[in-house]
């Protein structure tokens, strides 16, 4: 039945999004079961000076617990992590986060490229990267690192995106395994879930 080549050896799902991705993310989170077997790591563009409210907004329909990690917090399955305002968020070898205030990258802090590339380095073939709607090219190089290290790459179908610059940038930079609409991404994650049952 499966359309995707999936197995139960993955360690994490990482999601990047920017302008126009919010509704899609809300929908994805609302459809995932509370015992989703992998950590979900999200780098989303957001206002630098607004520290509060984003987690709450994302949590409304989610059965999973969403949190902005502290520096050096360990990464646990069943949790959704959101890069905090005004910090870059990296995944370290050893399965924990580190935060940094390095200069903005692609005009962004958090920058999607930083989260994706560091996760690619830490998880190698055991990572699934998903890049959604967005207005700049952030995330493209991150998706390339995921592909180069043998992970699975997914972008939101450009035609479905409110702004398609971000997924298009990724498509032009690297091989993308699946180009999917939000509903298909949800199917993908549900199939992934069943691999672990």
């Amino acid at each position: 039945m499966t359309r995707y080549s999936l197995h139960n050896g993955f360690k994490a799902v990482v999601i990047g999004g920017s302008a126009g991705s919010f509704q899609g993310i809300i929908k994805i989170l609302s459809q995932l079961p509370a015992d989703f077997p992998l950590p979900i790591i999200m780098a989303l563009h957001r206002l630098k000076h607004v520290r509060h409210g984003f987690v709450e907004a994302l949590s409304i329909k989610s059965k999973l617990k969403i949190a902005e990690p502290d520096d050096k917090e360990s990464i646990k399955r069943g949790s959704v992590y959101l890069a905090p305002a005004n910090y870059h968020m990296s995944v370290e070898l050893g399965n924990y986060f580190s935060l940094s205030t390095e200069m903005m990258l692609n005009n962004s802090r958090p920058a999607i490229d930083i989260t994706l590339s560091s996760a690619a380095y830490a998880y190698k073939t055991k990572l699934i990267g998903i890049l959604l709607s967005g207005a700049n090219k952030d995330g493209g190089l991150g998706m390339k690192s995921i592909h180069d290290r043998g992970g699975v790459t997914i972008v939101q179908t450009p035609a479905e995106c409110m702004i398609d610059t971000m997924p298009k940038a990724a498509l032009s930079l690297t091989k993308i395994d699946y180009t999917l609409g939000i509903d298909q991404i949800i199917d993908f994650l549900k199939e992934l879930y069943h691999q672990y049952k």
Binding site: H49, R51, E68, P69, D70, D71, K72, E73, P84, Y87, H88, S90, V91, E92, L93, S98, L99, S100, T101, E102, M103, I114, S118, Y121
Partner: protein, 274 residues
């Protein structure tokens, strides 16, 4: 462009810098350290071998290396809620015990945090009772801090933060524009000593009533954070306060239980045991 550096090569760099120059980056957090090294290679057009050669030969180069290697990004009144809390609770709390007191900004970078502190203390009418030590590893950034001169573009962010801090006037009242730069009024630094100091290999050098070390230890791994917290503990008077960055934690540190949480949201702690 070099895409990635091997852990082995990163280790060669940190080992050499430690042995030859006496700076210890061996326990810095890996991802950000690696990105800084990639940046150095790119900006200076080097590869690993030529970087190692340069570091082995030159004693001048090390200052540039430190300047590039460290992350100096900072803002005035970063996290305005933190500064409001300092004004409304922490500084009054310190003053219950001592009218005269001492503050240490550890990892002060280009000085924005120090300027913010003094603007706040000035507006509270207590600046003259306070002595401030501001330290950093990076010599060049300390020179910039001493000059108290900032780009007008950065002043926009600073101004917005100041408004959210709900300061008494406008940030503009604290600087003049010269040659397209914002030059802070000189007396804003009259009670400040800037000094080079290394949190990793340096010793504690005085006792303080308030220590700020915000967004510095995020560049360290947990083992090093643990050691540095001991130094802060040793640098605080009993019932002194420690402020770390908004997303930093020290619950796993050996000395965590010698502090109590004063405000979890803004990450302010108080030393309660020697």
């Amino acid at each position: 462009m070099i895409q990635d550096i091997d852990i082995k090569d990163l280790k060669r760099i940190t080992d050499l810098v430690y042995a030859k120059h006496g700076y210890d980056f061996r326990n810095y957090a890996m991802s950000s350290f690696k990105r800084r090294m990639l940046r150095i290679l790119e900006v200076w057009g080097l590869n690993i071998e030529s970087l190692l050669n340069k570091l082995a030969d030159s004693t001048i180069f090390i200052d540039d290396f430190l300047d590039e290697m460290t992350v100096n990004v900072t803002e005035m009144f970063r996290d305005p809620g933190f500064w409001r809390l300092l004004r409304e609770e922490i500084i009054p709390g310190v003053m219950l015990n001592n009218k005269q007191f001492k503050i240490w900004h550890a990892g002060c970078s280009s000085g924005e945090e120090v300027i913010s502190m003094n603007i706040m203390l000035h507006e509270m009418g207590v600046k003259e009772n306070v002595k401030i030590f501001a330290t950093d590893l990076d010599k060049s950034i300390l020179d910039r801090a001493r000059s108290a001169t900032y780009s007008l573009k950065n002043m926009e962010t600073n101004e917005k933060n100041y408004v959210r801090f709900q300061g008494k006037t406008a940030l503009k009242d604290y600087y003049t524009e010269e040659n397209g730069r914002a030059v802070m009024k000189k007396d804003l630094l009259s009670n400040v000593v800037f000094q080079k100091h290394d949190l990793v290999l340096g010793e504690a050098f005085a006792k303080f009533d308030l220590v700020l070390c915000r967004n510095v230890m995020i560049y360290f791994n947990q083992a090093l954070q643990n050691e540095v917290l001991k130094k802060f503990h040793g640098s605080l008077n009993k019932y002194g306060y420690l402020a770390i960055g908004a997303k930093e934690s020290m619950i796993w540190c050996d000395y965590a239980n010698r502090f109590i949480v004063v405000n979890q949201e803004e990450r302010i702690f108080k030393k309660i045991r020697d």
